[in-house]
């Protein structure tokens, strides 16, 4: 496709310009974007199907897509899948709610007042770098193997990150917004509730969305190690019986659940903060 007609230089440059469909930041059509994305999924699926169908790998390492599908269908009909889902959904909801309910007020406080920041931020920053995984044995020691231990791990994994991110969200509230509140003679408490919090809310929501994604990881971690139900528990048990199809099915399911919660949070964000679209 090189060397367009030389006779009309104007047309040639125009053509050259039109051909620029790749490069840094060059936009592409939505349909094209979708096509590429779908093609990657289909391609990987086909590769999986071919690798197992042609028996390049043993089913014990990688079962066929059909085997995974039938296994998941079986677990769905006998009810195991739903029990696992319910146990996990309950744990992540409670754990995440506790973490968020504490991190939002604390984050707002340390984002607004320097002395609160001095008291809490360095400590949180320190704890944040302690690996969550290392807390698992301790959490079992403290809270046993019941739901409380799952809440604890989810809490440790999300709370400390949330606090720092929410502090950042709050600090990004334009200084002039606070100046406006001052010139209107509002006391600090009202500036906080009527200006700072509503202004930071879209950012805080985004923080919640991102940390909810991580919470799935901590949930499964806690369930892998010590549990008698839940998605993570089923994965561990399946390993014991070489049910690779269950393991792969559940991993795919976890990915799907994460994707769904993320999309739901994004959709809610659009509804809740419609007018903030492109804030100043």
């Amino acid at each position: 496709m090189s060397g367009p007609a030389r006779s009309a230089p104007g047309a040639a440059t125009k053509q050259a310009r039109r051909r620029r469909s790749s490069g840094i930041g060059v936009p592409i059509a939505r349909s094209r974007f979708l096509m590429i994305a779908v093609a990657v999924f289909v391609g990987l699926g086909l590769a999986w199907w071919a690798a197992t169908g042609l028996e390049w790998v043993k089913p014990i390492f990688l079962p066929s897509p059909a085997s995974v599908a039938t296994q998941i269908a079986k677990l769905a009909t006998d009810g195991t899948l739903w029990l696992d889902l319910r146990a996990s959904a309950y744990r992540i909801s409670i754990g995440f709610l506790i973490a968020s309910a504490l991190s939002i007020p604390i984050g707002v406080l340390i984002g607004s007042f320097r002395s609160w920041e001095a008291g809490i931020e360095p400590l949180v920053d320190f704890i944040r770098y302690m690996p969550v995984v290392a807390f698992v044995p301790l959490s079992i020691l403290w809270a046993g193997t019941g739901d409380t231990q799952k809440f604890l791990i989810i809490f440790i994994g999300t709370f400390f990150q949330q606090v720092l991110m929410i502090m950042d969200n709050v600090k990004r509230v334009p200084a002039d917004f606070i100046g406006l509140g001052r010139t209107l003679g509002l006391p600090d408490r009202k500036i906080l509730t009527r200006i700072v919090v509503p202004s930071a809310l879209p950012g805080i929501w985004d923080t919640l969305r991102i940390s909810l994604g991580w919470a799935w990881t901590w949930l499964v971690l806690a369930e892998l190690v010590a549990a008698t139900s839940g998605l993570g528990y089923r994965i561990t048990v399946s390993q014991r019986y070489f049910q690779t199809n269950t393991i792969i099915g559940y991993i795919l399911l976890l990915g799907l659940l994460g994707l769904i919660t993320d999309q739901v949070m994004k959709a809610l964000e659009k509804v809740l903060f419609r007018q903030d679209g492109h804030s100043q």
Binding site: L180, T183, L184, Q275, S279, Q280
Partner: protein, 260 residues
């Protein structure tokens, strides 16, 4: 006139501490008469915005006296309406709600809030956009809402910090005309910070030129151009002479940083 609307006397202001302490304002003396429109001009770093911010009560000062109608200024308050360069419309509120927000803070009841808000949107010719959110408004419209908001609760004076600085030239012209019209009709004491000399001459009764190192008042110009002023006035020799004079003063003021 015995008591001026705003009195700034012997005001000093420094930033930082120890060796890095730098004086940004030195011995500022400035009185604004009732209903006077005064502009502060000068190169960046002359402390004009800092001075405005101090008058607004948003920043402390080291020495001097500051009073409005004879009462000392101790903190920000509803007696001074402030218009910031960055519009500062709250994005989750409509144009009308943004004005009502201020009125509510000023203690008006709900019905009064609504009525006054609509009245002031009408004043800035935005009645049609009362229920639109800031993200749906242009820069000029946002700043009109901000001006309407600052006027709505009837402050004793208006402080404007480069309010049109972020607007394109054409919109800025429209805004200047609108502001002049409103000011000529309603009269209010205004302290206006700008780096646009033409704007200062067009709007003001008096122009204060500030110099740098440390920021201080260098020269004052009275603008004896008849009101009402319309855009055509910018073409007159008197206007252009004054504009040249102010430009020259700013250049000289920024050329000789004095030894501290």
């Amino acid at each position: 006139m015995t008591v001026p609307k705003l009195r700034i006397a012997g005001l000093d202001k420094s930033f930082g501490t120890g060796e890095r302490r730098t004086q940004v304002l030195r011995d500022i003396n400035l009185d604004l008469a009732d209903n006077e429109f005064v502009s502060l001009v000068g190169t960046s770093g002359c402390g004009k915005s800092t001075l405005l911010s101090i008058v607004a009560g948003l920043q402390d000062f080291d020495a001097g006296d500051l009073s409005i109608d004879g009462a000392p200024i101790l903190q920000p308050g509803l007696d001074r309406g402030v218009v910031f360069q960055s519009y500062t419309l709250l994005p989750w509120l409509t144009a009308r709600q943004n004005i009502e927000f201020a009125l509510k803070a000023a203690g008006y009841d709900r019905a009064a809030c609504r009525e006054i808000a609509l009245e002031h949107l009408d004043l800035v010719k935005l009645s049609q956009s009362a229920d639109r959110y800031p993200s749906e408004l242009s820069g000029g419209m946002k700043q009109r809402v901000a001006i309407a908001r600052a006027l709505s609760y009837r402050p004793k004076m208006l402080l404007m910090d480069e309010p049109f600085g972020a607007l394109d030239a054409l919109t800025r012209h429209h805004m200047q005309e609108l502001l002049t019209q409103i000011w000529e009709e309603h009269r209010l004491t205004v302290l206006f910070v700008t780096h646009d000399v033409e704007e200062a001459v067009y709007l003001s009764d008096r122009i204060v030129v500030m110099g740098i190192g440390p920021g201080r008042i260098m020269q004052t110009f009275n603008v004896d151009i008849e009101r009402p002023r319309r855009e055509e006035v910018m073409e007159t020799p008197a206007f252009m002479d004054l504009q040249r004079g102010v430009h020259k003063a700013i250049r000289e003021a920024s050329r000789r940083p004095e030894m501290a």
